[in-house]
Amino acid sequence: MRHIDRSYIRYLDPKVISKLKGLDLIARMVVEGFLIGLHRSPYHGFSVEFAEHREYRPGDELRYVDWKVFGKTDRYYVKVFEEETNLKAYLIIDKSGSMGFSSNGISKLEYVKYLASALSFLLLRQKDAVGLLLFSKGLDSYIAPSSRKNHLNMLLKELDQLKPGGETSLSTVLFELAEKIKRRGLIILFSDLFDDYENVVKSLKIFRHKKNEVLVFHTLDSAEILFPFTGDMLFRDMETNDKITIDPKSIRKDYREKIENLLTSYKRDFRNASIDYQFLRTDTAYDKALLSYLAKRKKMK
């Protein structure tokens, strides 16, 4: 009888994850939880190159059980494969002031941090090279892609120190990065995309033009979508410090319409440009994001 330890799955919830300390732990928990939840999924991230045997654990698929070994030893072992890969993944994270916005305890940047950590862990586990780029108005930090075992620590350390700040100039940065990344790879962008819409789409198209695969995690807070505020308010822009007084109720409908239009436009235009687009709310579980990554990764095989 199979037993699945579902306690890991709870670590896909951002609220639960945010209570843990240490990005390495967070990354591991998220990924473990994700993988356990994946056992019936058509996706699996295991490589085709056999690496070693290990004892069967609940959640492992039966097709990977080595029956020959079972015949010899009368114990269950599964075959663990190791993929041979030369994929370079670039995690590009928007760390501008707007990413610090939070209405439910977890800011967009924190959400992205945990997600990027989990992805790094997952990617490195698959022997992919992972690079990290942090930007706001310009490129703030860059860690070249690598698949070394201790590379994860470097990535997590950088992510751990990540703080929101500065204005966004997303398209400018993307243009710059497109020039910088010579070898094609997987571009994973984490951003709220609060920038000039056309320029954002245009800059990402350049990556596609250069044969890169692009995955965009459009991350927003629920308040940025629903605009639930009441009473007259003075809104201060977290990047520019501009201020504006508004009665939220009076504009809520218009705002929702506009943000809906923006999301629809991004989705449509990215699809037309063969860019994978995943909209994430900071209160949604991480498996959605990880699944979209796996889907993307499979497509690249």
Partner: protein, 656 residues
């Protein structure tokens, strides 16, 4: 026309400034909120900010209107309805004035009045505010009545008083009470027998009340008007002395046919009964006080419809003796002195002096001054005029001293005139019926043989004083009158030898006594009071505070007047003898009686009352309150609804 029931509530309009202030403060207190990007907001802001301003203004307006309407509502604006309404719907404030003065104590009258109160209460029905005011010549009781139980209790405890009636007083009180009430229909109902004396100055009060839109109804309670009462009394002689037989006359007023009994009580003991008949309207009682001092008593009658005025109280003082000062020559006045000597009939204290001694005497210590054949000039005149000025009486006996005083003024306008046509002969004396009290009852009996007065053959006396005995030819033989504030009788019986024999006649002593008691200074009469009047009595005694013992044996201390010369006892609610005790061992009885006008039962009918107060209405004939009229409509609910509408609109707009 709009009328505000509580205009002072309008001060609450200041509240309307509160939303304005809060609004302005609120604007400053807009919460700041960091937001990721204002890109989208700025695009929407343009249209939003205009709406926000409009919305702010509308909200402000609604909040001000909400408070305005609330405040105006609570000030109860009233408008006259253009449509007549049915009376039963109208709230009423009614003051019922019930007369509890003595005249209402007539057989059955008070019960009729109470019945009318109950009837009125029933007609008014529930939901009305009724003030009951019981009145006499003051307000006796007043109470707001809510239900019949309270009404029954109030009426059961109500008692008729001995006091008089004053209708304007409760009218004014009722007016003040009604004006404080919020009702739109105000009425006063007077339930009384409406004595004429109770209506003094009522027109002005009535008109003032009518101008204030208060309707006045009257219920004239009629009853049996047969009544006996005492209007006063008198005592004769007016100078009571121990051993002197006194006649006490009660003044009984009656409108009853047949005889009425009158009893006299002295110190609570009945001393006699007399019957007053239509023929014999004056009755008297004879008493003979043996000791000097204060005496008190009462009269009683019965057989009429009003029992409360059937007792009448009196008190008087019996002086120890009467002090007479006789001035003259000892050899001349001996028979007069003998007539007045103490011990013969009454206790007279006689002092005789020569004219020359008069300056050394203080005449004010005496009750009577007799000048016997003494010329009134010089110090004698001065003393005599002084004595008269103090209200004293002077008996002036003319003798032969005056035969030489022809054509001279003896005193004031009295002078002796010589006759030119002197005739000898005899003259018949004539008593003139002038009502001169000392001669009443004598007629001509005792004087018919006294006609030989030679003096008057040659002389006569001219005076403006009243001649009470004259000879047939018109010569005055006794004249009486007032001089310088005092009484004087001039009696020239000693002018000649024939007349000088008058003292030998049997009539002399009683005549002299009559004149003596007539002229003697009357003792200061004890004051008498009526119910409701304060007893004011002077007392020079120092020391312990005096005391009053009331007819019901209660003790009460009087208050000292502002001048500190009089003691005043307020609250004379019971008729009877009030015993004033200025110091231990001394008691002065003061009689307090009911008011005569309250006993007269001089009432007026409703028709007569209507002539006096033109638009007064008869209470007993109506069946309901009031039949029709225009109604003040209170706009309170209207304004409250308006304010609630404002509140609702504000809440809707706020949440939009």
């Amino acid at each position: 026309m709009i009328h505000l029931l509580h205009p002072f509530y309008l001060f609450g309009l200041l509240l309307a400034s509160i939303p304005l202030i809060l609004h302005l403060l609120g604007r400053r207190r807009i919460r700041e909120r960091p937001f990721s990007s204002l890109l989208l907001l700025k695009e929407i802001k343009k249209s939003s900010s205009v709406w926000m301003r409009i919305k702010d203004l509308i909200l402000l307006l609604l909040r001000i209107c909400f408070l305005l309407f609330i405040v105006i509502g609570f000030s109860h604006p009233l408008v006259l309805s253009p449509v007549p309404f049915l009376g039963k719907e109208a709230p009423k404030d009614v003051a019922i004035l019930i007369d509890v003065s003595m005249s209402m104590g007539m057989d059955g009258l008070f019960e009729k009045a109470k019945h009318e109160v109950r009837r009125t209460f029933r007609i008014l029905g529930r939901g009305n505010r009724i003030i009951l005011i019981a009145f006499s010549d003051r307000i006796e009781e007043e109470k707001e009545i809510v239900d019949e139980a309270e009404l029954g209790s109030f009426l059961d405890n109500l008692r008729i008083t001995y006091r008089g009636t004053n209708i304007p007083l409760p009218l004014e009180v009722a007016e003040k009470k009604l004006l404080k009430k919020e009702g739109f229909i105000k009425e006063i109902i007077i339930i009384s027998d409406f004595q004429k004396s109770a209506l003094e100055n009522i027109e002005s009060v009535y008109n003032i009340i009518r101008k204030k839109k208060i309707n006045i109804y009257a219920s004239c309670i009629e009853g049996n008007k047969k009544n006996l009462f005492f209007s006063g009394w008198k005592i004769e002689p007016p100078f009571p002395l121990p051993g002197l037989r006194l006649k006490i006359y009660p003044k009984l007023v009656s409108n009853i046919e047949g005889s009425s009994p009158v009893e006299i009580f002295m110190n609570g003991v009945m001393k006699g009964v007399k019957k007053r008949t239509e023929e014999k309207t004056e009755v008297f009682f004879e008493i003979e006080p043996r000791e000097p001092g204060y005496k008190s008593g009462s009269f009683r009658t019965r057989g009429d419809s009003l029992d409360m005025d059937n007792n009448y109280y009196f008190s008087f003082y019996v002086q120890k003796s009467l002090n007479v000062l006789l001035v003259g020559k000892r050899n001349e006045y001996s028979y007069l002195a003998a007539a007045l000597s103490p011990g013969i009939e009454t206790p007279i204290n006689l002092k005789t002096i020569e004219p020359a001694e008069l300056p050394r005497i203080n005449p004010s210590q005496y009750d009577l001054l007799i000048l016997y054949n003494t010329k009134i000039d010089g110090y004698v005149k001065a003393r005599t005029m002084d004595f008269l000025a103090h209200g004293g009486g002077v008996l002036f006996v003319m003798g032969n001293e005056f035969t030489s005083e022809v054509n001279k003024i003896i005193l004031e306008d009295i002078h002796i005139v010589k006759k030119n046509d002197a005739k000898k002969g005899f003259f018949t004396l004539k008593m003139i019926d002038t009502g001169f009290e000392p001669l009443s009852g004598f007629k001509n009996k005792g004087l018919k043989n006294l006609y030989d007065a030679k003096f008057f053959q040659y002389f006569t006396i001219k005076s403006n004083m009243k001649t009470v005995i004259e000879s047939k030819n018109g010569d005055p033989l006794m004249i009486a009158g007032n001089i310088n504030g005092g009484k004087m009788v001039l009696f020239p019986f000693a002018l000649d030898s024939e007349w000088a024999q008058l003292p030998l006649k049997a009539i002399f002593v009683p005549l002299i006594y009559r004149l003596t008691f007539y002229l003697a200074t009357k003792p200061e009469k004890l004051p008498e009071f009526h119910i409701g009047e304060p007893i004011r009595i002077s007392s020079q005694k120092e020391g312990k505070t005096p005391l009053f013992i009331l007819p019901d044996e209660r003790k009460k201390s009087p208050i000292l007047s502002a001048t500190r010369k009089d003691y005043i006892l307020k609250g004379t609610d019971l008729p009877g003898i009030y015993k004033f005790i200025p110091q231990p061992g001394e008691t002065i009885p003061i009689a307090v009686n009911v008011k005569e006008e309250e006993s007269k039962l001089d009432v007026i009918s409703f028709e007569e009352l209507k002539l006096l107060l033109p638009d007064i209405k008869e209470s007993e004939k109506r069946e309901g309150f009031p039949t029709s009229g225009k109604r003040w409509i209170d706009l309170f609910p209207f304004f409250i609804i308006l304010s609630l509408m404002c509140l609702t609109a504000e809440l809707i707009l706020e949440n939009k």
